[in-house]
Amino acid sequence: MQDKERRCEIALRLLLALSALVCTGGIRAEAQTTNHPVDSVIRNATVMTVTHGTIEHATVWIHDGKIAGVGTKIQAPPSAVVIDGTGKYLTPGIIDPHSHAALGNDINERTSPITPHMIMSNAFDNRDKTLYFALAGGVTTAMLLHGSTNLIGGQSVVIKNKFGDDRDAMFFLNAPLSIKFAIGENPKRQYGNRNELPATRMGNFELLRQTFEDGRFYMKEWDSYNRKVASGDKTAVPPRKDLKLDVIADILRGKFYVQIHCYRADEFLTEEAIAKEFGFKIRAFHHAVEMYKVAGKIAEDGTAIATWADWWGFKDESADAIPWNAVLSMRKGVRVALKSDSTDDMRHLNVEAGKMVHYGGATEEEALRMITLNPAWIIGIDDRVGSIDVGKDADLVLWNMDPLATFARTEKVFIDGDIYFDRSADGLGAVKFHGTMHSGGFGGGEDDSDDEGDN
């Protein structure tokens, strides 16, 4: 947009804001820094809240990017922009807790099995077409992780899928730090093929333990130094600052949510034992296709899973994957999210959730929770997104029908109250995007792609 136009628009919005204030007689005035209308309402939709049931003919009132009201008797300000939801379904925005979209071919720093100092936001390409496809499929938030060649890969980036906004504006502000671990076939293959450690699961886990021993030592050195400084010791010499061990120490200090790629039941048990040995918590096992075998035990540790609806058979360690894994694990007390790990599945996580009704008899609310509130918990942002509750970010998807049906289509996607995708708009429907998209890396469906990614 031209600067002049932009200034005009801002002026107009300020006027609107003022008039809204007058009309409602006392909503707390807030500085308008974003370009969404102050108030909007989606009227007469079937609203699937995730936390408090499904409400027919309901209104959702959005104020200043947040959900300000949900129910059948909501009085929004008369100035509010009205979106008719008659015959349509409204859900929270879909949250994908495991994606490698928009990281180009920079997913794996596959030169060493321990690379915790890799920060995925450094590779984030906000023009990647896969973000657009995911947006059109209703994904409003995603955690983009390092790949799985490394035992400790790198630090995830959490984005709001505000496709078309500036790169900086797409980072999910103040999301907790997450770090990716991986165990099993992928590190085995990556380093075993070079005749390097680790070529086995024994090597996997022992190298992990040694890394934590190193981190423990490093942490003690720094703690000791810091104590000396605090006590006024002017002669204290700081230990060498090591970016890699810094992160390991912070994992031990509990500053990272640990997200572990692993498939097999024995791996979950070993990982939990190592976590206990070194005193950190595992936030979620990703893939976790054999969780149904040990769900009772893992439920006690409080670790969640991010799994697929029905993927299986594509590698040896997925041979025992069953499509009932998610629901069986949920019934035994494990918090379950569905994730994509795929630029294809990322576009239709709603349909993947629908499969949970078929495989195991999840209720529609349980199924929907697997792609909204539960992945939000895994990322650590469930107090801000993942359900339609007053005070949460207005990240919403309007569907033409029940979103768990195969035939469902995304009509409109709202993020922080703004419309980012509108199927009825001309062109691509990504209403804020201008310019040229990029072709993407992992699973981008491109000719000659030599990066198969690492499921």
Binding site: K129, F133, G313
Partner: protein, 440 residues
């Protein structure tokens, strides 16, 4: 009127099957005694029948006898034969077994484990003499898992790395061994044209011919010319008494395709690749089935102008930069609306059970529901010359029938019963066994 006509056909069929009219007029309920007489007759009653060829029949009756469909119609028009096993399908949907027009079933077990793969012999790009039936692994765990979601027939094609990668087989997803499961050997030739088939340099290696699309087209033309030449020399030799003729299996394999006797499935994805490959097909009068056509939404009229059927096995592939997000999802519907005969397929070995959902996506993005159902039943059967045997609930067709608790294309629906050649399939799989073992 339609129902009446079918009722007549049904009666005629019953008579053909050796049943008498009095039998048809006998009481509805089967008795145990009758069942033990081994008549092998099943009557599915009360269900909503999606016939594919003649609409939906509410409260229908479908009779299966000795592996065939022998009667179909409304409850009023069809008498349940005496001795039939009655299956109550009230509140259920009954439809023909699904037909996946492009799969790799039985050619690979574990994707990442190369030793379990017989997908494609890529030591050379011209491999028409590779027969899928030589590698087809009837006991693959993937087949039971696909069939309990209603997939009963599948074309098994070799992998797509070669320009000519071999010959497909048609299988039914039940049988005690390979011979029972392979319904038709060498049912089609698999040709692929695009980026993947080029023998470009690997790593620091050197490229092999053909390493470009120009090379691929020339190589294909030369191969077909050589095959014609071979055929002519063979015919000439055949007319000479006692003349020795050295058989070359590679060219031998191509003979039925040169005469247009059997279809050639051409996998091609990009709009700009369509004309070059179709020019070769026309030059040699090949009987073409197009496959993939993923990124061709700007040349739909061109596709239609060839008057060939299309297998759309790409619905889960991503659009390219510049394409709308639903460009690929919308392709089957747009092609069908232009009068093109469309099959929807999975092109998979481990996601075949999702075939009905692929059709469901096509419906979401504009394909009429009836067309989508046809695209996974009758259309693929017809493309491969099997339309008289599979793909609809019609008298005389093979009794491949599915009973589900809802809309077959909806992910929330569960398949409850599957009949293949009239036999009720065991719904347990390795996956249900694991589920049950760990649910205790």
């Amino acid at each position: 009127m339609k129902v009446q006509r079918f009722a007549q056909q049904c009666v005629a069929a019953m008579i053909c099957c050796g049943m008498s009219l009095p039998m048809l007029q006998a009481q509805e309920k089967a008795t145990k005694a009758n069942q033990s007489e081994g008549l092998n007759v099943v009557a599915i009653t009360g269900g909503k029948l999606l016939t594919v060829t003649h609409g939906v029949i509410e409260n229908g009756v479908l009779v299966l006898s000795d592996g065939k469909i022998t009667a179909i119609g409304t409850a009023k028009s069809i008498q349940v034969p005496k001795g039939a096993t009655v299956v109550d399908a009230k509140g259920r949907t009954v439809y023909p077994g699904l037909f996946d027009a492009e799969t790799n079933l039985g050619l690979i077990e574990i994707g990442s484990n190369v030793l379990t793969s017989d997908l494609v012999e890529d030591s050379d790009e011209i491999m028409p003499h590779m027969h899928v039936y030589d590698a087809f692994h009837a006991e693959t765990t993937h087949i039971p898992i696909a069939r309990v979601n209603g997939v009963t027939m599948a074309i098994v094609a070799p992998g797509s790395k070669d320009l000519i990668s071999g010959q497909d087989s048609l299988i039914q997803l039940d049988g005690k061994d390979r011979d029972e499961m392979i319904v038709s050997k060498d049912i089609a030739l698999a040709v692929n044209f695009g980026a993947e088939q080029r023998r470009v340099a690997q790593g620091a290696g050197v490229p092999k011919y053909p390493s470009t699309r120009m090379g691929l087209i020339s190589q294909l033309r030369q191969t077909l010319l050589d095959a014609q030449d071979y055929k002519n020399r063979k015919n000439a030799a055949g007319q000479k008494e006692g003349a020795a003729f050295k058989v070359d299996l590679k060219y031998e394999a191509l003979i039925p395709y040169l005469s247009g006797e059997r279809p050639v499935v051409i996998g091609v994805r990009e709009a700009y690749e369509l004309e070059p490959i179709m020019a070769v097909a026309e030059e040699f009068h090949l009987k073409v089935i197009l496959n993939h056509v993923t990124h061709m939404d700007d040349v739909l009229d061109k596709i239609a102008s060839y008057h060939v059927p299309v297998i759309f096995s790409s619905i889960w592939e991503l659009p390219e930069v510049g394409e709308r997000y639903d460009a690929v999802y919308a392709m089957p519907g747009r092609l069908a609306n232009l009068g093109v005969k469309v099959a929807i397929a999975t092109d998979s070995y481990e996601k075949d059970r999702n075939l009905p959902y692929a059709a469901g996506y096509a419906v979401a993005y504009g394909m009429p529901y009836e067309e989508a159902l046809k695209a996974i039943t009758l259309n693929p059967a017809e493309m491969f010359g099997m339309g008289d045997r599979y793909g609809s609930l019609d008298v005389g067709k093979v009794a491949n029938v599915v009973i589900a608790n809802g809309d077959p294309l909806d992910v929330r629906t569960s398949v409850e019963k599957v009949y293949i050649r009239g036999k009720l399939i065991d719904m347990s799989t390795r996956q249900t066994e694991l589920r049950d073992a760990y649910s205790k």
